[in-house]
């Protein structure tokens, strides 16, 4: 494979866990709740996904466990933010530390387990397409699922009644109240659903990418996912592009190194994070904030009803 093909294939492979998590964060933020603890949701998902796969022998059941793990942690975040009116950003970080502690405590028993991980599947016919086939259709099953999930989420958010409620909860909660819909319940569902997706992202990391569980193995990718959701304006297709961009940024360094290219490796390793800052600055400059209105009140503690 050529350098470009390998880079793009690596971008999809490494971008997929970020994609799931960023989609989850997008849903949560659309409903007016930022979850800075996405890193924690991914960690819970990674451990739950790995542990359940190890116990059950089936990585699909593992991913269900990952979703549950992420959802449980997100429900903690949601309960505090929505019902106790705590600060969203602070609560997200506290929840992250909770997840770090819990996963390192309970994860110890699974460091040495082996699992029946997701394997690469070449899609018949499609994988024979030059370049595109190598990049998109020689991946694992969770990657293929994500291809379908992105348009589905777009439909859900922008072409369905539940999506309308969800966005209304984030933009104009009063409207939803006027229609007699329970705002906090809608927000809670969005937060929990978003957490479940972030959990799956972590599960994918453990069962379809690294085939391992280690303490703190997400290594900042949850924060990258939050950044992707923000700069992709919480729109599924843009989130997909953003996630692959970061997947590519992570994949670039080893690809250059094995070719003996003379690079400043520490600068390359910082690239994904520099990219976050650059993109945020560029978006900030545009002046118009694409954030749901509910998010602009974040420091007053939760979206209002």
């Amino acid at each position: 494979m050529s350098f470009g093909t390998e880079l793009m294939a690596g971008a999809v492979l490494g971008g997929t866990p970020i994609l799931y998590a960023a989609l989850g964060e997008s849903i949560s933020e659309r409903a007016g709740v930022i979850n800075l603890g996405t890193e924690g949701n991914m960690l819970m998902g990674a451990l739950a996904g790995y542990a359940v796969t190890a116990e059950s022998g089936n990585p699909w059941i593992g991913l269900a466990g990952a979703a549950l793990g992420g959802a449980l942690l997100a429900s903690v975040h949601g309960s505090f933010v929505l019902w106790r009116r705590t600060n969203q950003l602070a609560t997200g970080l506290v929840v992250l530390f909770l997840a770090l502690g819990l996963t390192s405590l309970f994860g110890v028993n699974y460091v040495q387990s082996t699992i029946n991980a997701f394997q690469t599947i070449d899609v018949p016919l499609l994988s024979d397409i030059p370049v595109l086939g190598d990049v998109l259709f020689e991946q694992t099953a969770p990657v293929y699922v994500s291809y379908a999930l992105v348009p589905l989420l777009w439909l859900l958010l922008f072409r369905s009644r539940p999506g309308l409620y969800l966005r209304a909860a984030g933009e104009r909660a009063q409207v939803l109240t006027t229609y007699g819909r329970p705002v906090r319940l809608v927000q809670m569902l969005a937060v929990v659903g978003g957490g479940a997706l972030a959990g799956i992202g972590g599960g994918v990391l453990a069962t379809a990418y690294t085939n391992a569980w280690f303490e703190n193995m997400v290594q900042g990718r949850g924060f990258v996912a939050v950044a992707v959701a923000v700069f992709a304006a919480r729109s599924p297709f843009k989130v997909m592009a953003g996630a692959y961009l970061f997947g590519g940024a992570f994949a670039l360094s080893p690809l250059l190194q094995v070719r003996g290219v003379d690079i400043n490796q520490f600068a390359l390793d910082a690239l994904p994070y520099v990219l976050v800052i650059v993109v945020l600055v560029v978006i900030g400059r545009r002046g118009t904030s694409p954030a749901p209105e509910g998010l602009q009140e974040v420091f007053e503690g939760g979206a209002s009803e």
């Binding site: 530390f97 390192s104 082996t114 085939n211 193995m217 080893p254 190194q257």
Partner: protein, 384 residues
Amino acid sequence: MRQRRRARAGVVATLTAAVMAVLATAIPVTSAGAATETCGKDTKAIGFIFVGPKNDYGYNQAAYEGAMALKKEYPKLKILTAENVPENDDATRVMESMISKGAKIIFATSYGHLDPAEKVAKANPDVCVVQQGNFIKGGIAPNLGTYFGTVYEPVYLAGIAAGESTKSDKLGYVYAFPIPQTISNINAFTLGAQSVNPDVKVYTVATSNWCDPSKQADAANSLIGQGVDVITQHQDCTSTITKIANDKGVGVVGYHADASSLAPKTWITGSEWDWAPLYSDIVKTILAGDFTGSQFNDNYRVGYKTGTNPFVQSKYGKSVSADTKALIAEKLQEISTTGSPFAGPVKTQSGGTMFPAGDVPDYAAIEAANTVFVAGVVGDLPKS
């Protein structure tokens, strides 16, 4: 867990400080420096700090197992262990808290634990502090030392097996940081492979992290994309790369621990730790009151030539032929007596001379010279 431990250490440190303040005012200090000559002799406990989890299938697990062997050998001594101790002042606090629990022997087992170890040794002349794997330049305090095996020796032998095994003449090496230990491993692996297969190239990828499984996966995939058909690594956690290589039919040379069960199809061989004999020797010396001035009060390196190397060869995979095994046994004999993995001529990557023809460098010379890659390594050392 880390948070909680830190909090606990903080409480202990505060209490200790309070108690010491009371004692300092109540009891007149008589002979402060007298204890320096016999650090650790009357210890009630032995403290171990690890940078990672104790069951990482790698470096930390091996050190932990060494600690547990001491527990069996000295049932009267308490073995205090702390996992996930960062390589900063947190380590100082953890060691101080172990000392407050009666430990006068401390093993600081990660490369980056040297600075905190030096601080603790300076502040506690009655405590023997030994550090695993780093190198103290200049004067060494009477209660401090570093120890390590000549890790590159078994790595050189594993390189022979890798050089015999490869069909593409491309080997892959995933490492974390360009520390001297790693550089000498990569070089020895390359020289071992070249000794049986002069065309071999070793492709390197640095991950800038001792354990980031995602980066390891990217690194392994990049290497395999280049046609590499044997992969080895210098990482703290090793299962990701091992499993990916096995899944893709790429040979695996292990490091730190026997991971052959993770790569049943493609395991070749590897190197692993057996710290128990060396830990036992160190503790014996300290308990006898003989630490200061001993070989351990120094940068102690033990290899095939000088004793029992704590880094031993892992078992062979089924693909390794009897001829290769015999050849490796022969080389082991050679480097245990008159030879060396770095016996000249050894050329550097840029065409310079590391060791001239006929030179058989000793351990110190090898450690000093391994700051650059040898010829045959593909990839640059990371620049800062």
